[in-house]
């Protein structure tokens, strides 16, 4: 009933998790059965170990939160030699979010992850707003976005999802550029660049001053962008941005998403993903829908 195909990936349901909100899955194993997810996206992985940004790194805002973690991670080698072996037995699609500061770094990471049997896809992060070099810089101009995707396409042979930034004038234009460069799918939206000030201390709330806004606050923006992109490209779209409930997920599917990612909601309820899976099934039953694909992109 909930099965969907995302390019070559077969998902048992459309529910995945957003990079950076779900660690390597293991952190949530006490709360949910990871095998029930359509897939999960592990945290942003770079060519070498990164310490990330100084702290404080987050602040809660109305119906959302700002974060500026700055891609703290152990590097691709540590992922391939340690983390991968702890999670590869799971019966779900494990997707690695690939990040970098240069085209060479993106390619290096993608090439190493390509060799891992149990990783059927990568999500190319050309939209991180919290790193000084690279990141969102690659995702805000169609030419640059196409260039990095084309380079990774040459070295990566499995499903290539490209994660798009909402911090652009026309997201459909970027989506078309990466589709033309060989992307198999696009996921959107990454966080919206934001800022908050502690007025008593007269200082920015975060050490990095600006950060990425996520949570229910961004959902209407995300639904709008998913709808625009789904109309503009032929490749499948993964929708994310503030999804907390099954109803939110269904809204994204109607807007044109084939699958969705749950992010900030994992912090509110560590079992949110499974509740969304169960809720989607109930919704389909109550509405006489035998195949969730019937509602994808109906708007």
């Amino acid at each position: 009933m909930l099965n969907v195909n995302l390019h070559n990936l077969k998902l048992k349901n459309p529910v995945m998790t957003a990079s950076g909100t779900f660690g390597y899955g293991e952190e949530f194993a006490d709360f949910i059965d990871l095998n029930r997810l359509g897939g999960f996206v592990v945290k942003g992985t770079t060519g070498t170990h990164r310490e990330g940004n100084p702290y404080p790194r987050m602040v809660e805002t109305p119906s959302g939160m700002l974060n500026s973690v700055g891609l703290q991670n152990g590097g691709v080698e540590k992922f391939c030699t340690e983390v991968y072996h702890r999670i590869k037995h799971l019966d779900t699609n494990i997707i690695v979010n690939v990040s970098g500061s240069s085209i060479e770094e993106y390619c290096t990471v993608a090439e190493q992850v390509d060799a891992l049997d149990k990783i059927p896809a990568i999500e190319l992060n050309i939209s991180c707003p919290n790193v000084k070099h690279g990141g969102m810089g690659f995702g805000t101009q169609p030419g640059m976005a196409a260039e990095v995707v084309a380079a990774v396409r040459k070295v990566y042979h499995k499903t290539l999802i490209v994660k798009l930034s909402p911090n652009v004038t026309d997201i459909a234009e970027i989506a078309k550029a990466v589709e033309g460069a060989g992307a198999d799918s696009v996921s959107l939206i990454n966080t919206l660049l934001g800022m908050a000030i502690d007025i008593e201390r007269r200082r920015p709330c975060m050490a990095n001053v600006t950060g990425g806004l996520s949570g229910p606050a961004v959902k209407p923006v995300a639904v709008r962008m998913v709808w625009q992109v789904a109309k503009a490209v032929k490749i499948p779209v993964v929708g994310l941005g503030g999804i907390c409930t099954a109803e939110d997920a269904i809204e994204f599917l109607m807007a044109g998403a084939t699958a969705i990612e749950v992010g900030t909601a994992n912090f509110i309820d560590p079992a949110a993903t499974i509740k969304i899976v169960d809720g989607m099934e109930t919704w389909c039953k109550n509405h006489g829908i035998n195949d969730i694909n019937e509602i994808i992109g109906i708007i």
Binding site: G20, T21, G52, R57, M58, E60, N67, V69, Q72
Partner: protein, 258 residues
């Protein structure tokens, strides 16, 4: 094993103007909890306070299946928690984090230094250590007497010393200038305001005494997934929620020396 559970508020005690304590009843078999661990409390989901709030475990009774949280009203989240009444439900993710070392030889002498809301996790710690035959001294500091709640609760388990900034109770001055602070100990634990913990850590390092600090930070996930709550350590950034909140100062020179 961590779990998500709806506890019922069995008792609410107001402790002066800023503090209150909630005793929570588990409906079934409560997971084992250790001194220094914490819980993530759901305040009201996405309506006004979206993220959970990390609150340290003040006391636990595994037989009765109860947890007690000591909370200081400081911001939006804790103000909403203060409105809860007996009989209300409270959803917790627990037990979280790495707690205090309790593997201490009988007959040892330990010091616990707590300031403000940081006194909360020291009660369960002193209970557990007292049961092991460890002699505990607890020094509690605050701006005024009113801001040192629950000092009586420590009396059965520890020798209690008080220090207040205004001299309204006990020693007049910082806890680190209390006469009992200068005595010899086998181990020192501290939880409270950062400047106080750094002063305690530096003093312990100078004396060559083992010391653990329990840190606090803005937190989102509570399980080491989002990397929002990091602190500096000698090994780089580490999550307060997962690698902490309790850290051994032998790995924290970079933190306490600045």
């Amino acid at each position: 094993m961590k779990e998500i559970h709806n506890f019922t508020i069995l008792q609410r005690r107001q402790l002066g103007s800023q503090y209150f304590a909630l005793t929570l009843q588990h409906a079934g078999n409560m997971q084992p909890v250790l001194p220094g661990q914490f819980v993530e409390v759901q305040v009201d989901g996405v309506r006004e306070v979206m993220l959970r709030r990390p609150i340290s475990i003040h006391d636990a009774d595994p037989e009765r299946g109860t947890l007690t949280l000591l909370v200081q009203t400081v911001g939006r989240g804790t103000r909403r928690l203060a409105e809860l009444r007996e009989g209300d439900r409270l959803n917790l993710v627990y037990p979280l984090g790495h707690g205090f070392t309790t593997d201490i030889a009988p007959g040892s002498r330990v010091l616990m230094v707590g300031g403000g809301a940081g006194i909360a996790p020291l009660l369960m710690l002193s209970k557990v250590l007292k049961a092991k035959g460890v002699a505990c001294t607890v020094l509690l500091g605050g701006r005024t007497a009113e801001l040192i709640p629950v000092r009586d609760e420590f009396e059965p388990y520890a020798t209690v010393g008080i220090a207040t900034d205004d001299g309204s109770l006990g020693h007049h001055g910082l806890v680190t200038t209390h006469p009992a602070f200068a005595e010899p100990y086998d181990m020192i634990y501290t939880c409270g305001p950062t400047p106080m913990m750094k002063a305690v850590a530096r003093a312990a390092a100078e004396r060559g005494v083992c010391c653990e600090v329990s840190l606090e930070n803005m937190m989102a996930c509570g399980v080491g997934a989002c990397l929002c709550c990091v602190t500096d350590t000698d090994q780089g950034h580490r999550c307060v929620c997962k690698e902490g909140p309790v850290f051994d100062i032998s790995t924290m020179k970079k933190w306490y020396q600045c």
